[in-house]
């Protein structure tokens, strides 16, 4: 009765015709760097902190918390809830909004743990696409030009179509082009989602001043836009957690609807542990806030459950160990100031070296910009020249990861930049 399964001619995969995807420019850069055999090669491409010896860095406080977790027999590996570790949710929201946040006191903040900044953006934008409607359609999502390249991918993959853009960078000064930005935001349909970098704009390192943030808020309020703050560098930018959260808190104080993503990749150095948070802040005038907050949380969970069921535990436990313990928290703040300080020193050193070796151009942008990156204004051709002749690697948009510089390499980088600027005529 039983039929014998005759081995069929090899079945063709349903994916047989899948085309190879274009290589990710940043990952391609890294493979090229690894393949380069020059002993003096320098990578300025990676978006992770490096010590002055060019080494990856695990914060001492993080290392200690991790060892305590591993040594504690009570640590288990059970599932976290769909929305993550409750203690983490609270501490994370307090970190960005402030311990005395009125929105939190009102119960208007719904926070879930997320797979770092990317995961928070993905879940948040998916949620907005399901429940925000502007004349019957999902809202338009605006991202700055330029922006972190992944923003452009997240929006369509979350089902909201291609992202729209608003102008952001003044290419000449390397600062924020506020008039153009405000003009573009004013043209956005009411209810549109506006992605803003809370601090340390990636890739430009150019942030609005407090007065400029107030102008942006005014347009957001008058146009009834929904700000979505991407906070990937809180504390890492200026070295001060509160200063880096000032933009978010200014908007939160206005009592409007807003969404926040947080990443602990850079400021705690937890890159690979994928730890971040997504918060939905409900407007101050929301009737029956408790019910609305509960509904929002349930819908965020409904997005998460079919994506990855529940978030990873390890990074969340470490973050709670740091944020939830007074001594650890104090130590972390010092370490943050140390990391930001090293990057600030590298900015000063590179600017000084470029000035003293007579590199043509005004390099004050390097010290005016903030955070992990500097947008040098070097052209793609100049970047290629640096790579081919000097074995110095950076992304083709001229973005330097400041953490990739060290005291011992800064002079060589400045001299190579001088050579590139003088040899390769910039093509506009």
């Amino acid at each position: 009765m039983a039929t014998t399964a005759v081995a069929p001619a090899k079945a063709t995969s349903v994916f047989a015709d899948v085309p190879e995807a274009p290589a990710d420019p940043i990952l391609g850069l890294n493979s090229a760097f690894l393949a380069d055999e020059a002993p003096n090669k320098i990578s300025l491409g990676v978006g992770a902190f490096r010590t002055d010896e060019g080494k990856p860095y695990v914060l001492p406080v993080v290392k200690r918390v991790e060892q305590q977790l591993a040594a504690d027999p009570a640590t288990n590996h059970e599932y976290l809830p769909i929305d993550g570790l409750p203690a983490f949710q609270k501490l994370s929201a307090e970190l960005i909004l402030g311990k005395d946040s009125k929105a939190m006191k009102d119960g208007r903040v719904v926070t879930i743990q997320a797979l770092s900044g990317t995961g928070a953006l993905r879940v948040g934008i998916t949620f907005l696409g399901r429940f925000l409607r502007t004349s019957g359609s999902p809202p338009a999502v605006y991202i700055p030009t330029p922006t972190w390249s992944n923003h452009r991918n997240i929006v369509p993959d979350a089902g909201l179509g291609a992202a729209r853009t608003y102008r952001y960078l003044d290419a000449v000064s390397g600062g924020v082009d506020l008039p153009s930005m405000l003009a573009d935001l004013s043209d956005a349909p009411a209810g549109s989602v506006i992605v803003l970098h809370g601090c340390a704009h990636n890739p430009t390192g150019a942030d609005p001043s407090p007065a400029q943030w107030a102008d942006i808020l005014a347009v957001v309020q008058s146009r009834r836009l929904i700000p979505f703050f991407d906070n990937a560098y809180q504390g890492f930018a200026s070295g001060d957690l509160d200063a880096d959260a000032a933009s978010v808190r200014l908007f939160a104080d206005a009592g409007i609807d807003m969404v926040l993503s947080q990443s602990f990749a850079k400021n705690m150095g937890l890159y690979g542990q994928r730890i971040g948070a997504l918060s939905v802040v409900l407007a101050e005038g929301t009737p029956d806030v408790a019910t609305a907050a509960k509904a929002v949380r349930s819908q965020l969970k409904a997005v998460v459950r079919p994506m990855y069921s529940s978030p990873p535990a390890h990074g969340a436990r470490i973050a709670v160990g740091v944020l939830g313990d007074e001594a650890n928290y104090a130590e972390w703040k010092k370490e943050l100031a140390g990391m930001a300080g090293r990057i600030g020193d590298m900015r000063t050193a590179l600017k000084a070296a470029l000035d003293s070796n007579g590199t043509p151009g005004d390099w004050s942008r390097i010290v005016n910009q903030i955070g992990m990156f500097s947008y040098t204004g070097l052209s793609a051709q100049q970047v290629a020249h640096l790579r081919n002749k000097h074995h110095i690697y950076m992304t083709s948009n001229g973005r330097i990861s400041m953490a990739g510089l060290t005291t011992s390499t800064v002079q060589r980088v400045a001299d190579a930049m001088k050579d590139a600027v003088e040899t390769v005529v910039k093509q506009e």
């Binding site: 995961g119 990855y308 990873p312």
Partner: protein, 625 residues
Amino acid sequence: MAALAAAFVPPLLPPPPPLLPGWPGGTGGGVVPPPPPAHFINLTNGVEALPALVPAIVPLDAVRYTRLQSSTCEAGDLAGLLLHADAGLLMHAALGGAVYVYDLGSRNAARGVPRSLWYGLPFVAFAANYFCGRDGSAAATKDDDGMAGVPPVWVRGLNVARPWRDACARLDRRAKKRMRYYRPFAHAMGSPPVRLYGVYGRATRMDGQKGACAEPSPLAYERLSAATWLLVVCFAFGRDPSPRKINLGVGAYRDDDGAPYVLPSVREAEARVTARALNMEYLPVAGHAGFLSKAMDLAYGEGAVPEGLASVQTLSGTGACRLAGDLLARFAGGDKAADGADGRPLVLLPNPSWANHAAIFRDAGCAVGTYTYYEPSTKSLNLEGMLRDLRDAPRGATVLLHACAHNPTGVDPDAEAWGEISAAVADAGLHPLFDMAYQGFTSGDPAVDAAAVRRFVADGHAVVLAQSFSKNFGLYGHRVGALSVMTGDAAAAAAVSSQLCILGRPSYSNPPLHGVRLVDEVLGDAALAAQWREEVAGMATRIAGMRTALVAALADAGSTADWRHVTDQNGMFCYSGMSADTVARLAAEWSVYLTSNGRISMAGVTSKNVGYLAEAMHAVTKDGQ
């Protein structure tokens, strides 16, 4: 309004939980069959359940209303409960018809399961039985003292038979008169036992809004759909004050003390990895290379990993299935999609399947269908139906197969059946997608549990495989998994890999680090790997032992039902065959919590609670399931 409610029915709402089975023959005295089940909404919060009931479970015009107030319960005003109970409800109960009372939790989560359901309704049922039902002789003979032989009545694991009996005897005249009124009707029906069941969900956003009865909300559907029932159960368990409560709803292993279990091999790996103070840099989008190669060896067999395999690290089994769904949606839709799937790739799931599967593939943009799998009457595999459905499926569809330890039924095909399934899948031009969440955890031997996958590879299928390391390594919260796709050659594998990364990048950028380091450490060290194999076999053995113990304890408790399927089924779960109403009684009367589909997580059974569990299961099933 019925039309309005219908408009809110989500297209892929899971089937409603099965309602009461037929009235067991003969008990009604052979005169008239008892009335069909009646559905009452408990005012006020219960109105939120309305959209979930209408029309999926009951037509709008058949819904009735009652009012069992939590405040009355809290005041211990038992007479008040009886005086306010709806006359229709009491009459229906007296006639032996099943009565379902729906209520939802309060917005104040600390209040938990509505007291009206765990306390008020059981008392009404007790009183109805006392005055009109089978135990009604007590009422006729007034307050007899003989408690011997009085069956126990369990509320939250406490026997309340005596205090409630005393309370009934002491009721005021008005209440007694009201209850005795129904006695002649019950008598005419042969004094059937009273059957009142509470059905509860968590509070919705409409909490306290009386207007909800006119405005069905999709959210309420979600609350009461099968997919969220597990959460409801866990929630209720957490609030249950009974010292004897048992949680059989969670899909995580527990040791014989009911405690979470960290495998010693994993703990050792964690100590070593932590001592090395490695950096925490980003993994590549595709994940940890060392882990992936070991995961592929584990699944396909060392030296037997297929050529042209694209593999990426994923967020455990859910993440792997989701990524497979995303890849299908992007590259197997449009012209390639099966007929009638609207240009979406069609994924066929077994009926039943893990509750999350449908949502995963639906959210990824696939169309979801089902194939016959489980046969409730035999509590085993319906192979003929399965093969028929597979052969009739649209060519090019993807068929999801549970590699071992089918969730939730625990029913697996044997080797011969897998051969027939493989042939049917090939003949029908289907693409197999295996979900392997329990490798090693099922039989105790990872190679045995991977036999179906390896068989399909040998048969020439282009297998897609989702792997989870949650159960076999106990790494639940670390989200360790892998997706592998057989493509045929290295170039195609590179292309598929690149596209999986393109999908992963805007979803989570790169996968989490900690868990894969532990798996890499365990499997990369021969001694530690051998220890892990023993430990995973130990978990499988304990669960198998509990299956045997449960069957023996059921016999000891006096059950004469056929429980062979408990030992025939595999893996973490036992699909007990108990109906939703039986499950509700287990929770309400015995503080034993499982999912409404009757699925028992065997890992929650221990040598200490198996006796109580058997006693409870026997008590709720002895009158015929």
